[in-house]
Subunit: 417 residues, 2 copies
């Protein structure tokens, strides 16, 4: 506002350049943005918070080959390290300081993916101050980057039609409260009169109704798969799987007093109330949205605790879901009270589920996942029942890289029967 | 998942305590959460990111009187300061270190409000690592807290019915692209067949379609005012006011390459295309939502650049809006090309707008705002035209504290005619 006079001539020139030389204009825009951010920082005292903090620092910077350079200005620090969720070098790096007090580190070439990272400056964990893009995973915030030319392309926004994402509330009679959920509707949903199939997609321990849209990149994955004709246009419903909580931390009337914690520290964890009352979410969605309200157009899938939920939701509601996805499922039954009505008589429940028919029972886990053994035991139980399933083993462990990847594989298989 | 065996007995005890002693249970839950976060950090190597980073540190901690204590563990740091957007002490404080390397600072008692803050550790600006709640303002991230017993109560989630918040896309023929907007629908919208009035609420320079829901706390303000019967149930539409951008940074197909900048560094800034094509947003909303599509049930308001937009959107579309709100409007016309068709002949446009009728023309600004003088000049122009308006002067300047407060005052006045 206050810098308009200073910048109007410059903007005018940029606009002309844009017409003739888009690439140069892009470079000029960035250079100008940095210059102007500095000017604004000096000039506009009345404006609350403007521009970037660290002038000309660029971080993260992704090379053609997908190595990533991180930079942090910290001239007074004695040590700066980086930690990320890439596999190379265990996701760790020691940064080195240049003469201007800028610490930097370059990774090896990374597979195309979405990555989370933080710096540690003299023992304090910090976000990248010049990267405005962040995700919360359980109680921690992370800076975010994407490397392209592979899976990462599906986690990016492309120039394709976009679906809508709504945060809404449903009434849970079973849990005697209102509860929040996130709903993705595909591009064209609002304009059409078409009915759509529904994927119920469940988070893991420590997660909530935000996890799949942020860490899981669901709106981008679905927009991109639908645009390529690889996935059916579908509604994706992402409820909150912590029965003692109405919503994500910060979205309940506990406000800042409800800090994110692992779900096993919350009441109601694996006590069956969520699984047994899941029908009320399906009914809510079938009432509120234009769904194809039939088994062949309904899927339930989840990661970790959400895989456990998906197993027991589908087993306790035979005939409700034709598609089931267990992503690194948290099915170490030794830690669960299996006499609970939600969890008992599993063989009988699975036999009935098989009898009613399941179009696809899809399971995936990473070879180094601590839940690998319980997965193998569950496979044996299914084999003993002659219950048909599809099983995928991936590299790595209990990580979002796998869960996004599983969704990329699983969702194109849905509703094709 | 992996810690279930360890914690199931503890959880069981917590659950019993909850039944008998809720307050004690709350305390135990927090203590347990911290304990378990530590245990999980040690035990669950396969889980991606769990619990909290700094063990027993509590920050921010709000006292009964609304003083706030901040704590940061940084044993190796030479200096830690805090900067926030409260007025006391200029929002600044030097933190002091205890024997455990924990730095702390306590503010004076603060007025009830929502506040943003960061720490600076040896020249590096960092978020509060044990506070998971953050907001982005332009290019910077801030930790968030709320102090209660006043306005802050309206910025908090209360145990009242909640509206839905959707991120959706509309087709802009004028700007030849799809563009993203945020829409709040009031509690009960989906279940009812009622039609609702609409407030179009516009962000300032550097903002986007996310700003009013995050920094502006719109969903909470509207839920709470509606629950108290103070505001009419209404739809609030928050579009993106940067005509050269489809959406907020990170939500366009530029992805991480579009870093947030002040709007005056972007093409199309105050060139009139947004104001002149605003009707297409109104038409989209009237088609997509159950609106009362009439002047007496339509309002447009905005902060800073959004106030400038609101002035010219309403002046160029006389008869479209019965309610106009200019919050600290960016109306220094010396910096704008006033021969532009969107901005020229303002007196004639205002005269026509007055003739067609305006139920409420509401303006507010802080006494120390750098835009105070342009506001006074605009008042004189309205006075010369005998254009009726309501004018509010608040303390402080060009800050979100004022804009949330203005919305608290303005929205209850809407649609009462």
């Amino acid at each position: 506002m206050l810098n308009e006079m200073k910048t109007s001539l410059i903007n005018h020139r940029v606009f002309k350049l844009e017409i003739n030389f888009p690439a140069l204009q892009k470079f000029m825009n960035r250079a100008l943005a940095i210059l102007l951010a500095t000017m604004i920082g000096v000039g506009a005292r009345a404006q609350q918070n403007t521009g970037f903090k660290q002038g000309s620092i660029i971080s993260p910077q992704v090379s053609e080959g997908n190595s990533v350079t991180f930079r942090l200005k910290a001239p007074l620090a004695g040590s700066v390290t980086i930690k990320g969720d890439w596999e190379a070098d265990g996701g760790k790096g020691s940064m080195t300081k240049d003469a201007n007090g800028v610490w930097s580190f370059t990774t090896r070439n990374l597979p195309s993916d979405m990555y989370l990272y933080t710096f540690t400056v003299d023992s304090v964990q910090v976000l990248d101050p010049v990267n405005p893009f962040v995700c919360r995973d359980v109680g921690n915030l992370f800076s975010v980057l994407i490397t392209n030319n592979g899976k990462g392309d599906y986690y990016s926004v492309k120039d394709v039609p976009h679906g809508s994402v709504a945060r809404s509330w449903y009434r849970s009679s079973a849990l005697k409260t209102s509860r929040r959920l996130t709903v993705y509707t595909p591009p064209g949903y609002e304009e059409s009169k078409t009915r759509y199939p529904v994927l119920y997609l469940l988070h893991g321990s420590g997660g909530d109704e935000e996890a799949w849209t942020t860490l899981g990149a669901v709106p981008r994955i679905m927009d991109n798969l639908i645009a390529e004709g690889k996935a059916e246009p579908m509604i994706v419903v992402m409820p909150n799987g912590n029965p003692s909580k109405q919503a994500a931390p910060g979205e309940t009337h506990e406000n800042l007093a409800y800090r994110p914690v692992m779900s096993n520290t919350l009441p109601g964890y694996k006590e069956g109330s969520y699984e047994m009352s899941f029908r009320e979410i399906v009914d809510f969605v079938d009432t509120r949205y234009r769904t194809k309200a039939e088994k062949s157009k309904r899927a339930v899938a989840g990661l970790s605790m959400g895989g456990f939920h998906s197993l027991f939701i589908s087993a306790n509601h035979p005939g409700l879901f034709d598609y089931v996805g267990l992503f690194s499922p948290g099915i170490n039954f030794k830690t669960v009270n299996m006499t609970n009505a939600a969890y008992n008589n599993l063989e009988e429940k699975l036999a009935l589920q098989m009898k009613k028919g399941v179009a696809l029972y899809w399971m995936a886990i990473g070879k180094t996942d601590a839940l690998y053994e319980p997965m193998q035991e569950y496979k044996k139980r299914l084999d003993n029942l002659h219950f048909p399933y599809k099983y995928i083993e991936s590299t790595r462990g209990h990580i979002w890289s796998n869960w996004r990847s599983y969704l990329l594989e699983f969702s194109p298989l849905l509703f094709k029967k």
